[in-house]
C-alpha cells in the first residue's frame, strides 16, 4: 500500500513537472514566442478564436505570470485545452480523440510484439551463450537499433511498397474505404499498419534483447537454476518457467525507460508513413504553427507515457515481492 502511494505521488509530481514545462517553454524561449504568435494572429483570426487562444496561453489580459500559470493549470485540469488554429473552430480535444486510437493501436501492438520477440531471443541467446544464435542476433539488432527510425521507414516504403508493391505506401486506410466495422475495412487498416509496425519493431527490438540477455546471464548462474537442473527438469522448462520468468522482471521495469524511445520512434514513423496518429498530428501542428494543438499533444503523450509507467510499476510490484519490500 505504501508502495502504491509513493508511485502515485511520483506520478503526480511528474505530471506537474510536465504541465509546468508546457507552460513556461513558450514564454521563456528567446523572443517570447507566445506573444509573437498572438501578435501574428491578431487581425487574421476572428475575435472568438483570439480570446480562446488568450485563454489557452493565459496572456493578453495584463495579468502576472503567476496568476496566468494557475489559470492555465486550472484550465488544463478541466480538460479545457483550447481551440485548434489550423482546424478552427474544432476544439483541440476533439482533434486528439480522432488521432488517439490510431497511435494506441500502432504503438501498443508493436511494443507488445517487440517485447515478446526481443525477450524470447534474449532469453534463448543467453541460454545458449556463445552459440551461433548468440553470436549473430544480439549484435545484429544492436547495430540496427542505432539506425535512424525514420530512415528505416523510408527504406521499408521504398522496398516493400514502391518496388515490390506488397503494401500501401501511406496513410492509415485507403481513401476509398468507408470507416466502419466491416471485415474489408479492418483488413485495409491492418495492411496499412504492417509496414509502420514492422519499422518500429525492428528498430526497438535490440534494446529488449540486450536487457533480457544480460538479466538471463545473471539468473542462469543462480543456485535455484542449478537445483532445477540437478532435479533433471527438461531444459525447456528451466529456460522458460524457472530462469526466464525471473529474468523478465527487470525488463518490465525497463519498459518505463524504453517507452519513451518507442514513442519518439513512433512519432517519426507516423510522419514518414503519414499515419493518422498523434505523432503525425504533432508534426503537422508544428508545421502549421498550431501551438495550442501542439502543446495539448505533448501533454497527452506525456500523460500516456506516465500512466503506462505507473501501470508497469504496479505490475512489477505484483509479480516481484522484492520491489515491494525494498521501497
Amino acid at each position: 500500500m505504501r508502495f502504491l502511494v509513493r508511485r502515485l505521488g511520483f506520478l503526480l509530481v511528474a505530471l506537474w513537472a510536465a504541465l509546468t514545462l508546457n507552460f513556461f517553454i513558450p514564454r521563456l524561449m528567446p523572443g517570447n514566442p507566445a506573444e509573437a504568435m498572438m501578435a501574428r494572429f491578431r487581425g487574421h483570426v476572428n475575435p472568438s478564436a483570439l480570446s480562446a487562444l488568450e485563454a489557452a496561453f493565459g496572456i493578453g489580459k495584463h495579468q502576472s505570470l503567476i496568476s496566468a500559470y494557475f489559470q492555465y493549470l486550472g484550465n488544463t485540469l478541466h480538460g479545457n485545452l483550447g481551440i485548434s488554429i489550423s482546424y478552427f473552430p474544432i476544439p483541440v480535444s476533439t482533434m486528439i480523440m480522432r488521432a488517439l486510437p490510431w497511435s494506441l493501436g500502432l504503438v501498443g501492438l508493436s511494443t507488445v510484439i517487440g517485447f515478446l520477440v526481443g525477450t524470447a531471443v534474449g532469453a534463448v541467446s543467453a541460454w545458449r551463450r556463445g552459440g551461433k544464435l548468440d553470436a549473430v542476433l544480439p549484435p545484429t539488432f544492436i547495430v540496427i537499433s542505432a539506425f535512424p527510425y525514420f530512415w528505416v521507414g523510408l527504406l521499408a516504403i521504398r522496398l516493400f511498397a514502391v518496388t515490390l508493391n506488397w503494401f500501401p505506401i501511406l496513410g492509415g486506410y485507403s481513401e476509398t474505404a468507408v470507416e466502419m466495422w466491416s471485415w474489408s475495412f479492418v483488413g485495409d487498416v491492418l495492411m496499412h499498419a504492417i509496414l509502420p509496425a514492422f519499422t518500429i519493431v525492428i528498430t526497438s527490438i535490440g534494446g529488449w534483447i540486450l536487457t533480457m540477455r544480460n538479466n538471463m546471464i545473471t539468473v542462469v548462474a543462480e543456485d535455484y537454476v542449478k537445483m532445477a537442473r540437478a532435479k533433471g527438469l527438461t531444459p525447456q522448462r528451466i529456460l522458460w518457467q524457472y530462469a526466464g520468468r525471473n529474468a523478465m522482471l527487470p525488463s518490465l521495469t525497463g519498459f518505463a525507460m524504453s517507452l519513451g524511445f518507442v514513442i519518439s520512434g513512433a512519432i517519426l514513423v507516423e510522419y514518414v508513413f503519414n499515419y493518422p496518429g498523434l505523432g503525425f498530428m504533432l508534426l503537422q501542428a508544428v508545421q502549421n504553427e498550431d501551438y495550442p494543438l501542439m502543446q495539448a499533444l505533448f501533454l497527452l503523450i506525456t500523460v500516456a507515457v506516465l500512466l503506462a509507467i505507473f501501470v508497469s510499476d504496479i505490475v512489477t510490484a505484483v509479480l516481484d515481492p522484492r520491489t515491494r519490500v525494498r521501497s
Binding site: 523572443g31 549484435p139 539506425f147
Partner: protein, 305 residues
C-alpha cells in the same frame, strides 16, 4: 617522466582491450575514420557542397561518386562536409551529458539524505517525460534551431538515464572500506569523490558517454529531418530533409536519401558497438566466455583438487 606513467598504462590497457574485443576494435576504427573526416573535410570533399554547379539529378559516376541532387549539388561532397556536424553533436552532447550525469548521480549517492531524495526525484522526473516530443515542442518555437540550442536541448533531455545508473553504482561503492579509510584520514569530500569514488566507475562512465552520444546523433538527425534544425547548414539530417522534400526516393535519386542515412547508421553503430563492449567491461558476468579460457580454468581447478 613519472607523470606520464599512468597515461602510458591507460593507453596500454586500452590497446589490450581493443585487441581482445573485436566489437570494440571495429567501433573505434570507424569512429577514428569519421573523426579524421570531420576534422579535415577539405581533404576528402571534391566540390563545394552548397554550390549548384552541376547537372541536376545525375546518377553515380566517376565525377560524382554518389550522383548529384535535384539542384545540381554533389552528394558525396555534402556527405563529407556534413560529417563534422553529426560528429560534433555526438561528442559535445555526450561530453556535457556525462558531466551532468556524473555530477548529479555521484553527488546524490555520496551526500545521501534530503539531497539524494531531491536529486533522485529530479532525475526520475526528467527520465519519464518523453524527451523527443519535448524537444519538438522546444525547437518548434524557434524557427530553425541553431547548433548550440540543439546541444542545450539534447543535454537537458539526455543526462537523466546516466545519472540514475551512476547513482546506483556509486551507492554500491559508498560504504566500501577504502572509501571509509579515506574519510577517516580526514580527506575532503572533493578528494574522496574525484580520486577514490569516480575512477572505479570509469567504464560505466564511458558507456554512458557513448549512449548519450548515440542518443544525440539519432535525435539531432531526426530533428533536422523533420525540418526543425537549421535547414541551411550542412549535416546528414538536413540532407535527408532536402532529399525527402524533393522526393529523392520517388524520382530516381535514391542515393541522395540513402547515403546520409547509411552515414548516420555507421556512426550510430560504431557508438553502439563500443557501448556493447564497455558494458562487458563494467559487468564482467557479460564477458564472452572463450573455450580456451574455460579449459584453462578447468585445469586449474583440477590441479587444486
Amino acid at each position: 617522466m613519472r607523470r606520464l606513467r599512468p597515461l602510458a598504462r591507460a593507453l596500454a590497457g586500452a590497446y589490450r582491450f581493443l585487441r581482445r574485443d573485436k566489437k570494440a576494435m571495429a567501433g573505434s576504427i570507424i569512429l577514428f575514420i569519421l573523426l579524421v573526416i570531420a576534422a579535415f573535410p577539405n581533404w576528402f570533399a571534391p566540390d563545394n557542397p552548397a554550390a549548384e554547379n552541376f547537372r541536376a539529378g545525375v546518377g553515380p559516376s566517376w565525377h560524382h561518386l554518389l550522383g548529384t541532387t535535384s539542384l545540381g549539388q554533389d552528394v558525396f561532397s555534402q556527405l563529407i562536409v556534413g560529417t563534422r556536424q553529426s560528429v560534433m553533436i555526438a561528442l559535445i552532447v555526450g561530453f556535457f551529458c556525462t558531466i551532468m550525469s556524473v555530477g548529479i548521480g555521484v553527488t546524490a549517492a555520496y551526500m545521501g539524505g534530503l539531497i539524494d531524495d531531491s536529486l533522485s526525484l529530479l532525475t526520475d522526473v526528467i527520465l519519464v517525460i518523453p524527451t523527443f516530443p519535448l524537444i519538438i515542442v522546444i525547437t518548434a518555437y524557434v524557427h530553425g534551431a541553431s547548433f548550440w540550442l540543439l546541444v542545450a536541448v539534447l543535454v537537458f533531455t539526455g543526462w537523466s538515464y546516466g545519472a540514475r545508473q551512476l547513482r546506483v553504482q556509486a551507492l554500491s561503492l559508498r560504504n566500501r572500506d577504502y572509501l571509509l579509510a579515506a574519510k577517516a584520514r580526514g580527506e575532503s569530500s572533493w578528494y574522496v569523490i574525484t580520486v577514490e569514488l569516480i575512477p572505479p566507475m570509469t567504464s560505466l562512465i564511458v558507456a554512458n558517454f557513448l549512449s548519450a552520444a548515440l542518443y544525440a546523433v539519432l535525435a539531432a538527425s531526426a530533428l533536422q529531418f523533420i525540418g526543425l534544425g537549421n535547414i541551411n547548414t550542412e549535416s546528414w539530417g538536413t540532407m535527408l530533409y532536402w532529399a525527402q522534400s524533393d522526393e529523392a526516393l520517388q524520382t530516381g535519386l535514391p542515393l541522395w536519401a540513402l547515403a546520409p542515412g547509411v552515414a548516420i547508421a555507421i556512426l550510430g553503430s560504431a557508438l553502439a558497438l563500443l557501448n556493447y563492449a564497455f558494458d562487458e567491461v563494467s559487468n564482467p558476468a557479460l564477458r564472452p566466455v572463450s573455450e580456451k579460457k574455460m579449459k584453462k580454468r578447468m585445469r586449474k581447478m583440477k590441479a587444486v583438487a
